[in-house]
Amino acid sequence: MMLTLSTQLNTYLIIGAILFGFGIFGLVRRPSLIGMLIAVELVLSGASVNFMAFNRFLAPDPTVGQIITLFIMAIAAAEAAISLSIVIAVYRNYKSIEVEDLVELKG
C-alpha cells in the first residue's frame, strides 16, 4: 500500500497542500522580509506540484501542465530578483529588514 503511493493522484495533491500550508505558516510567522520571501517560494512550489499532478493524471494534453510549471518557475525567478533588490534598497535606507520597522508612512 505504502509502496504504490507514487501512482495515486491524492498523494501529490496532499503534498502540494502541505507545502502551501507551510508557506502560509512561514508567511505569517516570519518577522523579516527575506524569511517571508522564502515562504512565498514554498507557496509557489506547492502550486507547481498541484499543476504537475493534474498534468500527469487528468490532462488530455500532458504538455500543458509542464509548460505552466516552467512559466511559474520563470515568474518565481523574476519575483525573487525584484524583491531581493527591494530588500537591499530597504536595508540601505532603514538599516533593517524587519517588517515592523517599515512604518515611515504610518500617521
Partner: protein, 176 residues
Amino acid sequence: MNPSLFSPEGLAGVIFLILIGVTMIGAIIATCTKRLIRSVSGLAVCFVGVAGLYYFLNSPFVAMMELLIYVGAVCVTIAFAIMLAEPDEAKLARKMSGLSGGLAAVCGGAVSFALGYAAVNGQWMAPATQVNDGSLKMIGASLLTKYSMVFELISIVLLAAIIGSVALARAGRRGN
C-alpha cells in the same frame, strides 16, 4: 497489487517515500529555524525533494529545470541577499516567540487541511484519450506554436525584472 520490497516497483516506492520525507523536512527547516541562512538551506533541500517528485510525475525535464532554476539560482540569490542584509539575530529571536507562532500554525494548518480535504473528496475525471505523450519534443513543439506568445511575454517579463532590479539596487548607492 502490492509489489514486494525488492522488486523494481518496490524500490521505486521506497525512493518515493524518501523523497516525500526530504520535501517535508526541507519545508520544516525552511519555516521553523531562527537563522535565515539555515532557512534558505532548508528551502534548497525542499526543492531537491520536489524535483524528485516531478521525476516520478513523468517529466524529467521539469525536474532538471527545478534543480537548475530553484536550487541553482533562486536559493543562491537569496543567500547573497542574506549576506548583504544580515538581520539582527537577537531582535529576530525575541520577535519570533509569542502569539504569532500560534496564529501562523492555525492559519497554515487551516489552509493545508482545507486544500487536502478538497483534494481527497473531489471527483476527478480521468481523460478519455491523451493527444500526446508529454515528452520533451512535444513540449518544445507547443512552446513554439500554441504558446509562442506567452513564451515571448515571459522573456519580456524577465528582461523587465533584470532592468528593474538593477535600477532598484543602484538607486541608493549615489549618496555613499
